[in-house]
Point group: C2
Chain length 153, copies 2
C-alpha cells in the first residue's frame, strides 16, 4: 500500500476524532454522534418489521432474515459510547446510565438475549418465533429507554 493512501487515512482518522486505540480518547461529541447513528440504524431495520409481526403488513421472510443479521451487529455498537465523559454533551441519555451501571448492563444483556433468539428464528425461517422475536426485541429497546433515555419532547 502506498504511503499517500495511508496519510490520507490518517488525516481522516484524526479529523473524525478517532484515537489510535483507546475509545476514551475519542471526543465526547463524536461518541454521542456515533451512539445516535447506531440508534438511528437500529430504527431503520427494526421498525419496518413491526407491522409484519402485527399482521398489518405482509410477512417478508427474506427481509426479516436480512434485517435480523444487520440488527445483530447494530445492537452492539452504541454501548461503548456511553462514556462518563459524554455527560456534558446534549443528548437524551439520562444520568441513571452512570448512577445505575449494573441495571444498565442488565438492560444490555436482555437485548443481546432477545436478539439471539430473534436471529435464530429469522434465520431458520420460523415465522411464528420470528414475529414473537420482533416484539421481544422492541420490548428490550423500550425497557432500556424507559429508564435510561429522556422522553421525546
Amino acid at each position: 500500500m502506498g504511503s499517500k493512501l495511508f496519510t490520507a487515512g490518517l488525516v481522516l482518522a484524526l479529523g473524525a476524532g478517532c484515537a489510535f486505540s483507546a475509545i476514551a480518547q475519542v471526543k465526547p461529541e463524536v461518541l454521542v454522534d456515533q451512539r445516535i447513528a447506531a440508534m438511528r440504524l437500529q430504527g431503520k431495520y427494526l421498525f419496518p418489521l413491526v407491522p409484519m409481526a402485527q399482521g398489518k403488513a405482509p410477512y417478508d421472510a427474506a427481509m426479516v432474515a436480512r434485517n435480523a443479521g444487520y440488527l445483530d451487529v447494530l445492537i452492539r455498537l452504541a454501548w461503548d459510547g456511553f462514556d462518563p465523559g459524554t455527560q456534558g454533551v446534549k443528548s437524551r441519555a439520562l444520568p441513571e446510565i452512570y448512577a445505575e451501571p449494573a441495571k444498565f448492563k442488565a438492560a444490555q444483556e436482555t437485548m443481546f438475549t432477545e436478539m439471539n433468539k430473534f436471529v435464530a428464528a429469522a434465520r431458520s425461517s420460523n415465522e411464528a418465533n420470528a414475529k414473537a422475536g420482533i416484539g421481544d426485541v422492541l420490548k428490550a429497546c423500550n425497557g432500556c429507554h424507559d429508564t435510561f433515555r429522556q422522553k421525546a419532547q
Copy 2:
C-alpha cells in the same frame, strides 16, 4: 405479544418516518440521516485500524476481526438511501450519483469485493493480508468519495 407493545412500536415507526414496506416512502431527510449514520459508524470501526495497518499502532487481531465483522454489515447500509428524492436535502452527495448510476454501482461492487477479502483475512488471523485489506477497503471508500462526495469545506 400485547397490543399495547405493538401500538407503541407502531407510533415509533411512524414517528421515525419509516414506511411499512417500501423504502421510497421514507422521508428524504430520514434517508439522508440514515446514510450519514452508516458512514459515521464505518468511520468508527475502520479508522482505528489504519495505524495498525501502517505499523504505527500495535496490531490487535481481536479488534481487527471484530471490526471487520461490523464493517461487513455497515458497508451495506447506505446504498438504498441514495434515492433520487433526496437530492433536495443538504448533504455532501454529488449529482454524479444519479447521473452515472453504472459507475456508482461499480464503486459499490468494488467495496463489497475488497470487504470480502478483508473479512476473510481478518477472520483467519492472516495479519499481512488483513493489513493489506484495511488499505484496500480505505482505498475503496476514497475511490467512491473522490467522484461522488463533495470535498469537505
